[in-house]
Each structure stands twice: as structure tokens, then as C-alpha cells.
Amino acid sequence: MDPNDRSYTNGEITVHWKPSTCIHATTCYKELGRVFNPRHRPWVNMKGAGTDKIIEIIKKCPTDALTYEWNDSSKESEKPQQLSDEALSESVEKMTGKPVEIRIMKNGPYVVEGDFSVTGADGVEKKQMVMTSFCRCGASEDMPFCDGSHRIDNFTSSCD
């Protein structure tokens, strides 16, 4: 377990967040800002909505960064989140052959999905990827990828 991982509970479910996996696709806070608000600390407020609503949004997380489990262990069977290796390679399979799409996030990064390669600023390192987010604000400490710094930096940009 990564020391940066965080857990939040409302007594009924526990939500886990893995910052190292988060690509800042912004789905969670756009759809449920009362619970997921990166400007607040802690950024997850479990009292902001009911359990069902929170689960619905977590299921929309495009990565495994947000997961949940029931606190009541008899409901263990409803813990659907940990993707098996099989499911993971299946989702990679689905991305492969799909045309690459670059979406521009308002005040945020470029989110890229598909089958693509990334060559680093050194011109040497080349990675094959199927999903990532690239920094658009210039402030990331994890260049060329987004690390969420656009929020601290109050980066504003919309491209319509």
C-alpha cells in the first residue's frame, strides 16, 4: 500500500483513493462536488451525499484511483472494485485499435484515451499507453503528466 493512499468512511462504506493512479479526469468532482471537492481538506466529504450516489460516481472513475468497499463484511460480495488482471487486460484490449481521442478538460489537463506512445522530453524514453492525462497549465511536478497542480495554480482555460 502506498503511504499516500487515503480512505474515507461514512460508517456504511469506505472509499479508497490512490493518488498515484488518479489521472485527474475530473469525473468525480464534476458530477458530485458535494462529496469530491479538491479544494477542501479532506477532499472527500462522505456526508455530502448518500451511499448509493457515492458508489454510482466511484463506478464512473476511469481508473482504479477511486474504489469502495462495504464496511459490513456480509456485503463483501458487493465489493466489485479491485480489477482482476484479466479484467484489466480486457479493458486494455478494448482501448487498443480504438482511435486516439484527446479531450481538453476545462481549467485542467488533456485526457488521452486510445492506443498511443509517449516520448519523453529527453527524446529517448518511449512508453506505450492507453490512457493518461497531460499537463496543460505548466505547473505539474510530474511532467509531462498532470499531477493536479492546475487547481493550486488556479489555471483557467476553456477551449470550445
Binding site: 486516439v100 481521442e101 488533456y110 486510445g114 498511443f116 529527453d122 499537463c135
Partner: protein, 66 residues
Amino acid sequence: MDDKKKKTAEFKVLKNGPLQVSGDFKLLSMGGKVIESGNPIFLCRCGGSKNKPFCDGSHRRVGLRD
């Protein structure tokens, strides 16, 4: 042969500059409209371009450092 047909794109990070994209891709606006699919394109990475999402050379003024 199949390899040639495979839809794939290439992203190149230009040191202290923009992100060069080539190959098969679609660049979508916030509203989901395709704004670019030809290539290569150079996407702003420094946040300073006045022609976003494209690079206008502002990274030199902004002082983007990789």
C-alpha cells in the same frame, strides 16, 4: 500489413516546449466537437499560449522547464 492499418498516435514531449501529436487521433473541444484531426499538431503545455490549445511559442516567455 495490419500494423499499418492500426490506429495509433504518437505523442512527443518537446523539451521546455509543446506536446507534438502525430498519427491517427482526434482532438476534441470541451463540448466534444472535433477541432483537429490532421497532423502533426503542437499542443500548449506551458499554460501561456494565447491560441490554446495550440502552442504559440509562449513557453519561451513563460520559461517552461522540463
